[in-house]
Amino acid sequence: MVVGQAAVPRDIGILEWLFDSQSWTGANGIVASLTDTVILCTIVMAVAIVTMVPLAAWLAHTRRGEVSVSWMVTLSRAIPTFAVAGLLVPISLRNGWGFEPWPIFIALLLLALPPIFLNTYTAIKQVDPGAVDAARAMGYSPANVLFRVELALAASVILAGVRVAAVTVVATEPIRAFLGGDGLGRYVRDGLGQNNDSLVIAGAALVAGLAGLTALSFRTIERVALPEGVRRVARTATRQE
């Protein structure tokens, strides 16, 4: 099941391993594992955004689906990702789909959907009705009202939801290494399996580092992508809460 393990001497230091170029290259190297993780997380996030933002925007625009909100809130807290993936692995293998990537993909997707859906839905619902009415009076078509007024004003809250989802997905993806896959979590797994504390700590640091980096880059995107006016509106909105 475990394809290859990183062969690391037991008495190696944490930094010694991290700064050894051999740790980074090759099929078991950090670069390859990192790429694995980033690709999976990117696909999960892309699917979640492409499905949830339009769905939630449409539901909120037409003032429908109030019930879906409470479902999503429950889902967001209650989904036991490890158990879901563990339940899906046998199903996937029995159908000949292999250990990866379906079980972990679906488990992570379930984790990514709620924050994006909820933030999009509430953000669009809370758009100032005055702004929507003004746009209508100016002759905006319904599509233009949605895209150029509602979505534009909701952008900062939607992006915040995307950030929360991305950080959760990146932080949870390492369990994949314990469910028959690889990815960045593999060094913690290999370290635990080989009773090598240095490898465990270095692997944990890599995993935590990537999660931190994800949060940081999405905050930067929010800062750069949004026009100053929208950010100011968002700031006053959070202050009033």
Binding site: M1, T81, V167, T172, L179, I201, G203
Partner: protein
């Protein structure tokens, strides 16, 4: 090997009888880990919430700290503690407790903030001591929020306990890993399903206990 095993059924029902001891042990361990983690988390959260309520300027740093803890990947946090506490129960409980802080502190603070100033003044005007005001007026009014927080904390902890299987703890999570190692699906299916059932069951139990403890809150239920 995988192809040969792939046809074994998702559940062999005789496993329940043959391996009942093991299932029972995993179930009990799962509940123990959940209870220890949530209890520890609750005690720490109560302290943090008390500080945040007493000194308002501490609220933002405390929130920031608990939110930071919440974003640390579970695999990383379990892994980081292994060199210090070994593959022990402590290594499992500390991260699990750390993850409950965000939800619990938020809800405890929100609960006490929901008590209206008029109620506080009325209680003070009736000559209640600060301690009696806290225990007989503010705490009962904050209780629905605290219980809502406890429910979320317990449900998410039951789910996270399974991850502790990677450090040899983890209750039902160990069945999942065990099944995976042997490509034997029955323990995986049982471990995963039972952990989901356990979450639903405990959630319902706390909900009922909460209804029983705060019968007056029936109307304004729907707290965060």
């Amino acid at each position: 090997m995988i192809l040969a095993q792939a046809s074994n059924p998702l559940v062999r029902w005789e496993y329940f009888i043959d391996e009942w001891d093991q299932i029972q042990r995993a179930l009990i361990e799962h509940m123990e880990l959940t209870v220890y983690a949530v209890l520890l988390g609750f005690v720490v959260s109560a302290g943090l919430a008390a500080i945040a309520l007493r000194f308002r300027w501490m609220l933002a740093p405390i929130n920031g700290f608990t939110a930071f803890l919440y974003t640390i990947p579970s695999v990383a946090l379990f892994g980081l503690l292994v060199p210090y506490f070994g593959l022990s129960r402590t290594t499992a409980v500390l991260p699990l407790a750390a993850y409950t802080l965000l939800i619990l502190v938020t809800n405890i603070v929100a609960g006490f903030n929901s008590v209206s100033p008029e109620v506080r003044e009325a209680a003070a005007g009736m000559g209640m001591t600060p301690f009696r005001r806290l225990t007989q007026v503010e705490l009962p009014l904050a209780l629905p929020y605290i219980i809502a927080g406890l429910r979320l904390a317990v449900v998410s902890t039951v789910g996270l306990v399974t991850v502790a299987a990677i450090i040899g703890q983890g209750g039902l999570g160990r069945l999942i890993l065990d099944g995976l190692r042997r490509t034997f699906w029955t323990p995986m299916t049982i471990g995963a399903s039972l952990s989901i059932l356990l979450a639903v069951l405990l959630d319902g139990l706390i909900l009922l206990a909460g209804r029983w403890a705060t019968p007056w809150a029936e109307r304004q239920r729907g707290s965060p």
